[in-house]
């Protein structure tokens, strides 16, 4: 069992080691037992679903798309023109990423993705969203004060750079194509992919050579 983490802010926590948490855990166990008894779900299938999202699907998939766009300008054009088809070319389409728009960060435009109504997110490409993306604070504030929100991530966007915020829907999800950092001219597509972080593909970070694993930056 993973330790719980607590944060500043008004968002309800994922519960704590209180009676409420054990009540919820018991309730979930009861529902699971009933679904299995009734043959509605297969326990092995539940394990497979959890394992898939814990170990197989994640931001490394989106990073492949970004790195490919950085080294292949024709692919990049197709990706920005029709994200859904270009991602399908790589065979990386999947559940919750059926319709994709890819938006490019440049020296003049910074894009940020949110889902104000829910927490819609391209699961097949980035995995399950982080807690901050699902938080009431992010969902409410990203659309009214994106620059302040980005500062909380340590990202100060100069006034002369336009900030565009994209509100996802259940049917249409977004991916940010971050700017390729300077000094990466000699890197291969595979090495470039290692630089691309989840937050950079949501627009909450830039791809920065100073924060990458040492074997890549050296």
């Amino acid at each position: 069992m993973t330790a719980y983490h607590h944060h500043a802010g008004s968002d309800p926590k994922s519960s704590s080691d209180s009676n409420i948490a054990s009540d919820i855990a018991l309730r979930v166990k009861a529902i699971e037992a009933l679904l299995i008894e009734k043959g509605i779900v297969d326990p092995a299938a539940l394990d497979t679903i959890i394992e898939t999202y814990e170990t197989k699907v994640g931001p490394h998939i989106g990073a492949r798309i970004v790195a490919k766009a950085w080294v292949d300008s024709e692919f990049k054009q197709r990706l920005l023109a029709d994200g859904t088809s270009a991602i399908a070319e790589l065979g990386l389409t999947g559940f919750s990423s059926e319709h994709m728009i890819v938006v490019e960060n440049t020296s003049e435009i910074h894009n940020l993705i949110v889902c104000t109504l829910c927490s819609c997110y391209p699961w097949a490409i980035l995995g399950l969203p982080p807690t901050w993306y699902k938080s009431f604070a992010y969902r409410s504030r990203a659309v009214i004060e994106p620059r302040v929100v980005l500062k909380e991530f340590g990202l100060e966007i100069p006034e002369n750079v336009e900030v565009r915020v994209w509100d996802s829907t259940s049917d249409l999800r977004y991916l940010v194509l971050p700017e390729r950092p300077e000094g990466t001219e000699g890197l291969s597509e595979e090495e470039l992919a290692k630089l691309v972080t989840r937050n950079a593909m949501i627009g909450a970070a830039k791809v920065d050579l100073t924060t990458v694993p040492s074997e890549v930056s050296q």
Partner: protein, 104 residues
């Protein structure tokens, strides 16, 4: 639908809760709620219905529940509405499990 889920522009929600190196799920029950929802939507009801179910959560409850608590609410609502499991069965099973926990 102008429910509590329509959060865009709402104020006073505090700082963004940024967690370094967070796990995919923060507890076993969260993982199970996710998996049971994933395994049932598509087979017994649509994903859209699941989303709508969480939007039907009473506003006060919505705003005081965590993400997977809202998923659990939606799952339970749809399982009962589609007559897959009844509320009485859930309560009976909770009582049964709670008794066997005390005995063990």
């Amino acid at each position: 639908m102008n429910g509590p889920h329509d959060l865009g522009g709402m104020q006073s929600m505090g700082a963004i809760p940024i967690e370094e190196n967070e796990p995919i799920f923060h507890s076993e029950w969260e993982a199970k709620v996710f998996a049971m929802s994933f395994a049932t939507f598509g087979n017994f009801f649509t994903v859209d219905e699941t989303r709508h179910a969480s939007e039907r959560m009473p506003p006060g409850k919505y705003l005081s529940s965590s993400y997977y608590e809202r998923w659990l609410f939606a799952l339970e609502l749809l399982l009962t509405e589609h007559s897959l499991v009844s509320s009485a069965e859930i309560e009976e099973k909770i009582a049964e499990l709670s008794q066997s926990n005390e005995l063990s």
